[in-house]
């Protein structure tokens, strides 16, 4: 009988099985090791399977809190992990993860991938996640002593790979495929992502902040990297002028598409009209939601005056509840060398670094200090586009400079209060 009857159940069924992946790794590595290949951890994949079986029986994790492990010169990029079954299953006593910074857009050459595989076959469990939720390549499971050589070997590859972020650091930025494949992309997501990643290598590798900080780049409001919900700093492509319409192509669609019900009626602001012959879009009322463009990619495309909207503060619910990022900059041009966006990023990071509380995400801090203060920090003035609606209470602050001179103000000054 199998040693792992419970997890074996997950080999069944049509969907690709992660259990098969683990077994395949175990089998290959055991075999190659027995053939004399220099693999440091040929038993680890098998060990994981056994540990998992125990978890499946016990209905709980068998991983302990991680200790601090890393590679020389880095403060992050590795998640330390030890098993509480270390004595029983020494193969997985250590099971640290390395986060490897993926190429922007998750595009790979096979050469690059093979290099990665070689390193992890040698120094690790041979198991990966392609990819982690933040976007990194995840190398699952190695021992403390192999972290440094893994890292060094990664750096020596013909196409070298560096670590990604972890801990209270800037995290690995990610980007949708953007201009590489998508006709909707309003700016070069891959280049911006790459450039920011390179600019902030230090912030990425050496945790120095109150908490984590994530940047994601989506080429249009469809937001295919889910930046609104998952990034402290979401850069989402958009445009300012009219949607470009190809009338001929519209006519093609009209031959079979129910434009009235599937496009016109679904426009959130009723900015489109279709009289059976011509499609008209009222640019002043279009909120660039993408729906009509999504429906008719051959006929419609984003306008020509392109750039991005920046939303700040997106995050999961720990501690003060989930936040979908808040629009802070309705429109910004995205142009190499990206100075403007970097200035905003720098101002944001500096402010948060200085005034953020321990484990306070930037969104929570904006909530605590007020959006108004944040706008000041990034040097932007108020814009109605950053709110869904104006405030519902009259509890406003006024700056001293905004007050009229008066005896009362004089008295406040005299008393040292102003």
């Amino acid at each position: 009988m199998s040693e792992t009857p419970l997890v074996d159940e997950l080999e069944k069924g049509p969907w690709p099985s992660f259990v098969k992946e683990i077994k395949k790794t175990a089998e290959n590595m055991e075999k190659l090791a027995s053939e004399g290949k220099d693999l440091k951890l040929p038993k680890t994949a098998r060990g994981l399977l056994k540990l998992l079986e125990i978890s499946y029986k016990d209905k709980k994790t068998h991983w302990k809190h991680g200790g601090i492990v890393s590679v020389v010169g880095y403060g992050g990029g590795v998640i330390g992990r030890y098993s509480d079954l270390g004595d029983k299953l020494p193969e997985v006593e250590h099971f640290h993860t390395m986060r490897i910074n993926m190429p922007a857009g998750w595009f790979y050459s096979t050469k690059a991938l093979r290099g990665l595989c070689d390193v992890w076959e040698k120094w690790g469990s041979g198991l990966t996640n392609m990819h982690g939720s933040t976007g990194d390549i995840i190398f699952l499971g190695t021992r403390s002593e192999y972290l440094q050589p893994s890292f060094e070997d990664l750096g020596k590859l013909e196409i070298p790979f560096d670590l990604g972020g972890s801990g209270s650091a800037l995290r690995t930025p990610s980007a949708c495929m953007g201009p590489a494949l998508c006709e909707f992309s309003c700016y070069d997501t891959l280049d911006l992502c790459y450039d920011l990643t390179m600019t902030y290598q230090n912030e990425l590798h050496r945790p120095m902040y109150p908490y984590k900080f994530k940047i994601k780049c989506s080429g249009c409001p469809n937001d295919c990297v889910a930046s609104k919900a998952r990034a402290d700093f979401a850069i989402i492509g958009t445009w300012k002028d009219e949607i470009q319409i190809d009338d001929e192509a519209v006519k093609e669609y009209a031959k079979w598409m129910d434009i009235e019900n599937e496009v016109v009626k679904l426009c959130p602001t009723k900015a489109i009209s279709w009289n059976g012959k011509e499609l008209k879009i009222d640019a002043k009322n279009c909120v660039r939601c993408m729906h009509c463009i999504n429906k008719m990619p051959k006929a419609l495309k984003p306008g020509k005056e392109r750039g991005a909207t920046i939303l700040v503060g997106g995050k999961a619910p720990v501690l003060e509840g989930a936040i979908i990022g808040w629009v802070t900059i309705p429109f910004i041009e995205i142009r190499k060398p990206y100075d403007e966006i970097k200035e905003i990023l720098n101002a944001t990071l500096e402010w948060w670094d200085e005034e953020g509380k321990f484990r306070e995400r930037v969104g929570e801090m904006i909530w605590r200090k007020g959006m108004r203060e944040y706008l000041k920090v990034i040097g932007k003035s108020a814009d109605v586009r950053i709110v869904k609606a104006p405030r519902n209470n009259p509890f406003m602050f006024f700056k001293k400079e905004e007050l009229r001179p008066s005896p009362f103000v004089e008295e406040l000054k005299k008393r040292g209060m102003f």
Partner: protein
């Protein structure tokens, strides 16, 4: 012994006989003309309800005159509406115009303030308001005076049905919002703009320091135990006046800096759209007694911009739902300043007010 706890007179003592007879058995109503509503009962009985504006602050001598008129036209009965208008009940159509004439001439109250949902033509009603300088100790503005100035300007809308939908205007003279401005189509609210200047002596004499300190929603107050007084962190103060409510030793009145904020877009009825709180659109207008011209101008401007642009039955917030706040500011010519961005952390609507979408208009 003096009788206590006997409560208000029972309502049924107060009902016109036709109303009493047809109580709960009204069939329909019909707006005959501005100020006049015909109500028809299942029994076939009918009654004309005739509405007049009032300043709310009434002399007992005026009330007696109203009574005289009610005795003459209305069988000795009358009522006030929930927005301080006076209503008479006339059983025959012929008497309506005479009644109107007599009220207008003798008392000077205009007939109007109604609306007709059926045709989608709405009059402007009275402004719900509060005490202001007439009676209260915390106001940042007067109440009755501003209401008078605004209603003078908007008079034509009261006496006629010229608006596309209901529009409720309210005023409260301080952030306590006794006038319920927090849910009105257009609202004026008195605000202070300076922190309290602790009067150490008064604090010692009249205040309970811990409860005053605790009353500050933003934590701007600290007890100064030694000096037996209270210290204000002016950076944290947003001038709500709550500490002054608790303790007279915390005055924050500054005639030059008190004034009004304007809010819009509140709604209470469930008709079509769910209720909504009002939103601040003008952070501050100075006190300009006796007729507050700047404030009046803003209110008129907002009302008329809405009225000229809204569709039938589209209340202010429904109009904004359709056109967007971007367009609201553009059309009204108001400026969106950073004061209007919610940063009151204690009210949890803040999340709801910030935009979590790239959807907006240029």
């Amino acid at each position: 012994m003096v009788k206590t706890d006997f409560g208000p007179p029972k309502y049924d003592l107060m009902l016109h006989p036709v109303i009493k007879k047809n109580y709960g058995k009204w069939k329909f109503h019909e707006v005959v003309k501005p100020g006049v509503i015909r109500r028809v009962a299942e029994s076939g009985d009918e009654i004309y309800v005739v509405r007049f504006g009032s300043p709310r602050l009434l002399s007992v001598y005026t009330i007696r005159e109203l009574c005289d008129i009610a005795d003459k036209y209305s069988d000795g009965y009358l009522r006030w509406t929930s927005r301080n208008n006076v209503e008479f009940f006339v059983t025959s159509k012929e008497k309506v115009d005479a009644l109107i004439k007599e009220v207008e001439e003798k008392i000077g109250f205009p007939c109007g303030g109604t609306w007709d949902a059926v045709t989608g033509k709405y009059g402007l009603s009275n402004i719900v308001h509060t005490q202001g300088w007439i009676h209260c100790h915390t106001p940042a503005i007067d109440a009755s005076g501003i209401v008078k100035a605004v209603m003078d300007e908007l008079y034509e809308y009261f006496i006629d049905h010229k608006l596309p939908a209901m529009c409720r205007i309210s005023l409260a003279c301080c952030a306590n919002m006794c006038g319920a401005v927090h849910a009105s189509d257009i609202a004026i609210v008195g605000i202070h703009r300076t922190p309290p200047l602790p009067d150490d002596d008064a604090i010692r004499r009249t205040c309970e320091i811990p409860s005053t300190v605790a009353a500050c929603p933003t934590g701007a107050l600290k007890p100064d135990m030694k000096a037996k007084t209270i210290k204000v962190d002016v950076e944290k103060c947003m001038y709500c006046g709550n500490c002054y409510t608790m303790c007279p030793g915390m005055p924050l009145f500054d005639p030059e800096n008190d004034g009004a904020a304007i809010m819009v877009g509140g709604k209470i009825s469930d008709a079509r759209r769910m209720p909504e709180l009002s939103k601040v659109v003008v952070p501050w207008v100075p006190n300009e007694p006796p007729r507050w011209p700047t404030l009046v101008k803003y209110i008129k401007q907002i009302l008329e911009t809405w009225a000229n642009n809204a569709r039938k039955h589209e209340r202010l917030i429904e109009w904004v739902d359709r056109i967007g706040w971007e367009r609201f500011f553009e059309l009204t010519g108001l400026e969106f300043t950073d004061h209007l961005i919610d940063d009151y952390r204690i009210t949890p609507y803040i999340y709801g007010e910030l935009r979590t979408s790239t959807q907006f208009r240029w």
